[in-house]
Symmetry: C2
Subunit: 470 residues, 2 copies
């Protein structure tokens, strides 16, 4: 997961209470129709959480990420993992299983290192940022200057030329603080910096560098950019405060190669009445090139396709089609989704509801929903059928990336809202492994996606589409 | 901190409540005498926590660890840091400041790496263990076998010869689980293993390897030993469960060089009546060769000497001498302390009370005390004067290392008991930096050590010595 989309007035990282639905007035016939699914929903939940399907999602994900490890765009390993999933989805008797081609970036990290030279020698752990240029072979050796904010950068503009700028910004929230990762190099380069080292975007560190992508700007020199640990950013800041001159050597082999073809993975449970109408459940199959991409976004991708395997095994075939999509190349900027959404298959008029999970598959709290009040209330009513999973709520305001373009067009949709307090501890690090996930939360996520997608695919009314307010 | 010493019946890692002192019956004159220090103790606490001394310990420690980084036995950097401290203690007008020579091990890590070769290629992060031998230059390449316990190792004895044994033991408590780090290689070698990789001893990991020392046994082949991350230990275990053959390459340049001379750092506030009698406050100045050694044991060492600087600045000179000792070479086995304790200066009959801090300097909870009931009750009474620091308690049973030999001889002593729930997150890792510590907890620790050492150095009665029950 990379970006946060603000489609409704309420910010996505506000406290839950403020953004949940307080009052709903659905027509009685709609309420009654939704309530009529209660027994079906119970079967779905029971089978996923304590029946034969228990631990299915965790076990499938374990096999997948242990076999392939990280799955970065541009790599043969990602394509091999896509081949494996196409076969695996066919093995589970899903329908219309195929890959949809998409061109994706091919950024290569290469070897990379940084060393403090003055006031004393010390290795600096780092992870180069996606799209960053590399350094000359011997690296860049320069004086370093540490700033706490973009404001301080501007205040010290005269000191910047020729320097390596170290951003030691505090972590406020991912959405606020990630602007340093995405734009730090650009802002530093405007003032003449030769490289940017950015404190990793995380509330917690065990000397843990995080990666992610960054942007350059036209007419601004492209300078190398990497994230360093919170510990080293703070050390450099303290040394500067002590009056020490800082000198750093940075070596990065990073380079951007020509685009390559990858595939979004598609699998369906075809509707038996209005199969041209679609509910989408989705997550991305690619991951950063560190860790296992088990959390980001193995969990989201796997609850998506597992949910339709579960429906199929329960012999539940809705009126509309449920389509699972495992997006490719989300990490470098939702390349798979952006191309898919322009394809004829993605015609918005046929879309009933689009779901994504890409901010963790910890214990579900409900859904973050984009849509008008009627959509919110229908989804809230459906969630109320899922009592065994807790008091699930609809929250207005969505954090999403792959489904963003649809939501902007007015297609109603949702993202899995979950107890993801620790999500950014692991995000884009070597620590994103199977240990972050627990089987029962994955079962609950699968049940939630299965139940909501089934009811919305089967219900008699089409959900209204409405361009959200900016 | 390395080892846990169990000197009283109650285990050191039981819950606090069970081991605190419930009933005391001190003579009235002793109670009255201790209570008479209340105003003095208040001055100590106020000056340390809100007066001119506020943040003194944190700032001194920051300057020290930022200047030197890690301070491993055998290195010139440790000796340079000792020179700095000798000068710094003199600058703060402490008395009898000097180094006491001690021979210390000189183990050198060198470069080290491990790679999974089968079933797929993957780097395995590791930290070699102190005293481990290295591998041949090309490393050791062998099939790996993963066990969850020493019992499983024995059950699978026939499979062990020629293998790299991976210990994937669960973390129970440091004291219980560290036996895998210290003895895993030895037990594996007895059965013919060629190397041992041990899951790091920690409850929490962000792909974080931990180091520490290990033991070989006579007549058992010395095989290389390193700790790997919890994440990789679990991955290897899962792959084995899946039926995969594991092959690993391990390269370590580790070697043990001849012993070198180091120094324990000594500084005093001389007593004005019975200066030959001593209260000791101590922590160790050396650290592992990763991180900054700010927590282990910069904090403990610095509250020790800061406490007597504080007393000196308050013009508080006790009857007996308070001696601060910054031990050398604790990390490889308390080499500095073991030699010091055999020296004439360390005569036990002159020792009133020996204090150590080496399990964190987080928010103080009280003292872990070794001594008879009278000692426990006197210390509890002294702690009751420190109300502004919270409801401080005496806990029976001590975790210590450097003062262990004295305690075994019957000298009463104590270790700082503190809110150290997260201690083993950082222990012996690159994440042991200044960020682990907060200024106000260090102020409280300094105040506690200053107040307790002052009262026990000044009080009219000598504390009884009694060999603890085994």
């Amino acid at each position: 997961m990379l970006m946060f989309v603000e489609l409704l007035s309420a910010p996505a990282d506000d406290t839950a209470e403020d953004n949940t639905i307080k009052v709903c007035s659905l027509p009685d016939n709609v309420i009654n129709e939704i309530n009529s699914y209660e027994e079906t929903v119970n079967r779905i939940v029971n089978t996923a959480t304590s029946g034969q399907f228990k631990d299915f999602t965790w076990n499938e994900l374990r096999k997948f990420v242990d076999k392939f490890g990280s799955r970065f765009e541009g790599t043969q390993n990602l394509e091999n993992s896509i081949d494996y999933m196409l076969q695996n989805l066919r093995n589970h008797s899903l329908e219309n299983v195929h890959g949809e081609p998409a061109m994706v970036p091919h950024w290569v990290r290469g070897s990379e290192s940084a060393s403090l030279i003055l006031p004393r020698e010390k290795d600096i752990a780092l992870l180069g940022l996606g799209f960053s240029v590399g350094t000359p072979e011997d690296g860049i050796t320069a004086e370093a200057i540490v700033v706490k904010s973009f404001d301080e950068l501007k205040q010290r503009a005269e000191e910047i030329p020729g320097k390596i700028v170290v951003f030691n910004q505090e972590f406020e929230s991912y959405r606020k603080t990630v602007t340093y990762r995405s734009g730090g190099a650009r802002e530093a380069a405007k003032l003449g910096a030769v490289a940017a080292l950015i404190r990793s975007i995380t509330p917690v560190s065990l000397y843990t560098p995080h990666t992610g992508y960054m942007f350059y700007a036209e007419n601004v020199k492209k300078i190398p950019a990497a994230c360093i640990t919170v510990e080293d950013a703070e050390l450099l800041y303290r040394l500067q405060q002590e009056g020490e001159e800082l000198k750093i050597n940075l070596k990065m082999e990073a380079q951007l190669l020509p685009e390559v073809e990858s595939r979004n993975v598609v699998a369906e449970l075809a509707g038996d009445k209005q199969s041209e109408k679609i509910v989408i459940v989705s997550g991305h199959i690619d991951s950063w090139d560190v860790g296992q991409g088990a959390m980001d976004d193995g969990g989201g991708a796997f609850i998506s396709w597992s949910s339709i395997v579960l429906l199929k095994q329960l012999d539940l075939r809705p009126k509309r089609t449920i389509r699972a999509i495992l997006w490719t190349a989300e990490e470098m900027g939702a390349f798979g989704a952006k191309q898919y959404i322009k394809s004829p298959d993605a015609e918005k008029r046929n879309l009933q509801f689009v779901m994504e999970s890409d901010i963790g598959t910890f214990k579900p709290l409900g859904l973050e929903v984009s849509g008008n009040d009627q959509v919110m209330c229908i989804v809230q009513r459906v969630l109320s059928l899922l009592k065994p999973l807790g008091n699930l709520k609809v929250k207005k305001g969505i954090e999403g990336d792959d489904i963003e373009d649809w939501l902007k067009m007015g297609v109603p949709g949702a993202s899995l809202w979950n107890q993801n307090d620790k999500y950014f501890w692991y995000h884009h690090t070597k620590a994103d492994t199977m240990l972050v996930l627990d089987p029962s939360s994955l079962d609950s996520g699968t049940a939630l996606f299965a139940a909501v997608s089934y009811v919305l695919a089967d219900i008699s009314i089409d959900l209204p589409q409405e361009i959200p307010h900016k």
